[in-house]
């Protein structure tokens, strides 16, 4: 692993944790998912997952909303879904020229932000149900507005930021 790569990964972790705390008052709107996705897209699922896990190790433990170990573990181990989707998308697209067909790529990335968020929310809401002794379907229904905000926010964040971020990153990192 070269120094540039290490520097980028550490920067990603710092950016992820920093934005989490900055946006602590805005529920379910976080660039962390995008950062993990970009990590997975650029460096593969292992590195992307590590960014997510390290971010949750810090933000999840020192969390202003409190600490519940089972939910923390669920969020931490659900986060790599973004890295996996990112690396799969990279494999499917090859080395895309993000400068052309920019709008289409943005919409594609927006949807790729949405679907893993659905999976993530399903996992975390299911764990919530078991932790707080709530029927799973009730937890899913009650959590639906929060999930939809999360999914909608990620749709917009991924759609607006993925292409510029990947293009900028491409200038820094030569794989």
């Amino acid at each position: 692993m070269n120094t540039v790569k290490i520097a980028v990964i550490v920067t990603f972790c710092a950016l992820s944790i920093g934005t989490d705390y900055t946006l602590v008052g805005v529920s379910n709107v976080k660039p962390m998912d995008l950062i993990v996705f970009i990590g997975g897209f650029t460096y593969g699922p292992v590195v992307g997952s590590l960014i997510g896990i390290v971010s949750w190790l810090i933000y999840g433990v020192a969390n202003p909303f409190g600490f519940e170990p089972r939910i923390w573990l669920a969020t931490m181990f659900a986060e790599p879904v973004y890295a996996i989707i990112g690396s799969l998308l990279r494999r499917a697209l090859g080395s895309p020229n993000l400068g052309s067909l920019r709008f289409r790529y943005s919409v594609l990335f927006a949807t790729m932000g949405f679907f893993p968020t659905v999976v993530y929310d399903l996992i975390t809401n299911t764990v919530y149900a078991f932790v707080y002794n709530t029927p799973v379907f009730v937890a899913l229904f009650i959590g639906a507005p929060f999930a939809v905000v999360h999914e909608g926010a990620n749709f917009l964040i991924f759609g607006a930021c993925s292409v510029p971020a990947l293009r900028a990153l491409g200038k820094v990192v030569k794989e």
């Binding site: 919409v107 949807t111 009650i142």
Partner: protein, 147 residues
């Protein structure tokens, strides 16, 4: 990249989000219904046998919140109906059966005057102090019930 495939993905996102919200509102509705079923409300029911007859009123009928028009009708009249997927179809009220093109149709009184019932009577939840009328008339004539 196929633009239609991307459009389909976007629509799928929309469908998923909408489905979640449907589940949420369905749950909230059931919760609210179960919490308010002991609450009593009053409603007014009229029965009009057509042929310019006077409407017989059952004003101030007490029913539990969340009751349907069918429930309100059962409290005040002898009603015969057939159940189906789309809801209850009223065959007769107080022994007066659908015949010769005349049917039991229901109306509700709103701020805009009489409004024709759009759903089966067992699908319509009665509101507090709402005024409803069963009117024995033809579909084609569809006259508004007399006040």
């Amino acid at each position: 990249m196929n633009k239609w495939a991307i459009a389909a993905l976007v629509m799928l996102c929309w469908a998923l989000a909408a489905s979640f919200m449907v589940g949420y509102y369905y749950y909230q509705y059931n919760e609210l219904s179960s919490k308010t079923k002991e609450v009593m409300i009053t409603a007014n029911l009229g029965i009009n046998y057509g042929n310019k007859s006077a409407t017989r009123w059952f004003n101030g009928t007490k029913i539990s919140a969340g009751s349907t028009l069918l429930g309100l009708t059962k409290l005040n009249t002898s009603v015969n109906y057939t159940g189906s997927l789309s809801g209850a179809f009223v065959n007769s009220i107080n022994g007066v059966s659908n015949s010769n093109g005349k049917y039991w149709l229901w109306w509700t009184h709103s701020n805009y005057g009489w409004v024709f019932g759009q759903v089966a009577c067992d699908k319509y939840v009665v509101g507090t102090n709402e005024t409803l009328v069963w009117y024995y008339e033809t579909y084609s004539a569809s006259p508004q019930p007399p006040s």
